[in-house]
């Protein structure tokens, strides 16, 4: 398929209209000089990826992304940032010293992903097959059945790991006070 063939498909225009702003916003998340701006660019990135899921007829996943990530996770991010410190304007100490190794690592991940996709394309059944029609959402009944019947145990396992991670996070972040320190804290 040549590039002009690709452009002739209207769906690819919709893809470009979502993917280009998404890429710009994703870069701005890490280059932004203000931590609240970074979080807001993350909202834009997530919204665009929800749009990409809609293009793939995965309507339910798209709205899960909006409800859970934009509606809850980012709100918690912003809440956390604002309740601690959130100055308006540019901040000087946002850049991490290891930003160049980090950039290198993310480029390596990108290359690995691209290589994987091109390597497996044609070898996996249905990979090059026709995509489902855009605008026709996957029936949520099918999703529900797959979720409860076929993927129930993987789902429970992931839930369990997340719970363990949460408890681990609390244990690591929380500093238990000694009785003497507790007394001190109460006096203050």
């Amino acid at each position: 398929m040549t590039f002009s063939d690709w452009l002739a498909e209207p769906v690819n225009w919709a893809f470009l209209a979502l993917a280009l702003p998404m890429t710009v916003a994703a870069v701005r998340v890490v280059t932004s000089r203000n931590v609240v701006h970074a979080a807001l660019f993350l909202v834009l990135t997530l919204a665009a990826s929800a749009g990409l899921f809609i293009l793939l007829s995965a309507e339910f996943v798209a709205w899960v992304l909006v409800l859970v990530y934009i509606g809850a996770v980012i709100v918690l991010f912003l809440f956390g940032i604002m309740i601690t410190r959130a100055p308006i304007g540019r901040e000087t100490d946002l850049s991490h010293a290891g930003r160049w190794p980090a950039a290198l690592a993310s480029l390596a991940v990108l290359a690995l992903t691209l290589w994987l996709i091109t390597a497996v394309s044609g070898q996996v059944e249905g990979f090059d097959g026709p995509l489902p029609a855009v605008g026709v959402a996957t029936d949520s009944a099918i999703l529900g059945e797959g979720f409860i019947m076929r993927y129930l145990i993987p789902f429970e396992a992931v839930g369990f790991i997340l719970l363990a991670a949460l408890i681990g996070g609390i244990t690591l972040a929380r500093k238990d006070l000694t009785p003497a320190e507790e007394e001190e804290a109460e006096r203050v």
Partner: protein, 335 residues
């Protein structure tokens, strides 16, 4: 690769344009009607007359005059504010409001609602959560401590009450066997009684959580006048204030309309065929009752304390709604 077939047709774009225009026009229209109702009802509940002169009789044109006044006002942005975030916050709040109107079924035909999504109710809950970001943006970017505290309170409150709001709808979805808004109404029309009779717990939790999501009394800590001036809207004036103002009233309408769809049978009413032009009027009448109750509560109840608000959500509403889901699911299988 199949193309995006409908996108190429002119009909698609014309239809999309009309739908967007309708949704955009609905917000100020609804805002004016409910805003006027709130002014008049609150006045009569307090033995006042309320708006009286505008428009000649009963002050019916009060909200139109208010709207014109807001548009004329200078667009003031505080010097220390974060300008882009400050400017976009009302738009984001309005986005959540308008997106909610799309899935409210008024009539069984395909022109009865903008789009009947397969995941209808889930979509409604998802887009309504977008407004929270707008509220936080408004609170932070105003560079004002009152706004900031208001924004933080709003975020804490909206996170806490989103959970019971979502969980309260699950019982209805289990009973109806579908998430589509039309499907839920049709299920109630088919069995000729509304889900209110079996899901009364869900309805109570949904309306309580909806009041909190709307940040209306008794849950209006984020904009508590006596403590925070006006919370996150303190620094807004003119047109941008109008956006917050209209969004609140339009959200009252859409939350009530969703409750009507889920619990009160939507456009169904005993003895009236659903495919007549009476259907939208039935929906509006039912919404009117719920909106009246909201206004009534606002002018009757005092404000909760912040800790009481969180206790109510986390220790009462969420456990009760989970029990409700379990009972509904068991009964669905057994009965």
């Amino acid at each position: 690769m199949t193309g995006l077939v409908p996108m190429t047709g002119l009909v698609f774009w014309a239809e999309l344009g009309i739908k967007m225009a309708v949704a955009a026009a609905a917000v100020p229209a609804i805002g004016m009607v409910i805003g006027y109702a709130e002014m008049k009802l609150s006045a009569h509940m307090q033995s006042r007359v309320g708006p009286y002169f505008a428009g000649g009789r009963y002050g019916w044109a009060q909200l139109i005059a208010d709207g014109v006044k807001f548009i004329q006002k200078e667009d003031i942005i505080p010097a220390e504010a974060d300008r882009p975030v400050f400017k976009w916050a009302p738009a984001l709040v309005m986005l959540g409001t308008m997106a909610l109107l799309v899935v409210i079924p008024l009539h069984p035909s395909r022109y009865g609602m903008v789009r009947d999504l397969d995941v209808g109710i889930f979509y409604a809950l998802a887009v309504s959560s977008v407004s929270t970001i707008g509220v936080l943006m408004a609170g932070w970017s105003s560079a004002n401590k009152y706004s900031m505290i208001g924004g933080l309170r709003a975020a804490g409150q909206l996170i806490a009450y989103e959970l019971p709001l979502v969980l309260a709808t699950v019982g209805v979805v289990i009973q109806a066997g579908t998430m589509s808004m039309q499907g839920i109404v049709q299920a109630q029309v088919a069995q000729s009684w509304p889900f209110m009779l079996t899901q009364f717990v869900g309805l109570a939790i949904f309306m309580t959580a909806a009041l909190a999501e709307l940040t209306r009394l008794p849950f209006d800590m984020p904009i508590a006048e006596s403590e925070l001036v006006m919370g996150y809207v303190t620094e807004y004036s003119g047109f941008r204030f109008l956006f917050f103002f209209l969004a609140e009233f339009a959200n009252m309408f859409s939350m009530s309309a969703i409750a009507v769809t889920l619990f009160l049978g939507g456009y169904g009413f005993w003895g009236i065929p659903t495919d007549t032009l009476l259907s939208p009027l039935i929906v509006f009448a039912k919404v009117g009752i719920l909106v009246f109750i909201m206004i009534w509560l606002r002018w009757t109840l005092p404000r909760f304390r912040e800790d009481q608000l969180q206790t109510l959500a986390w220790k009462w509403l969420i456990p009760i709604s989970i029990v409700n889901i379990i009972v509904t699911a068991v009964l669905k299988v057994v009965v």
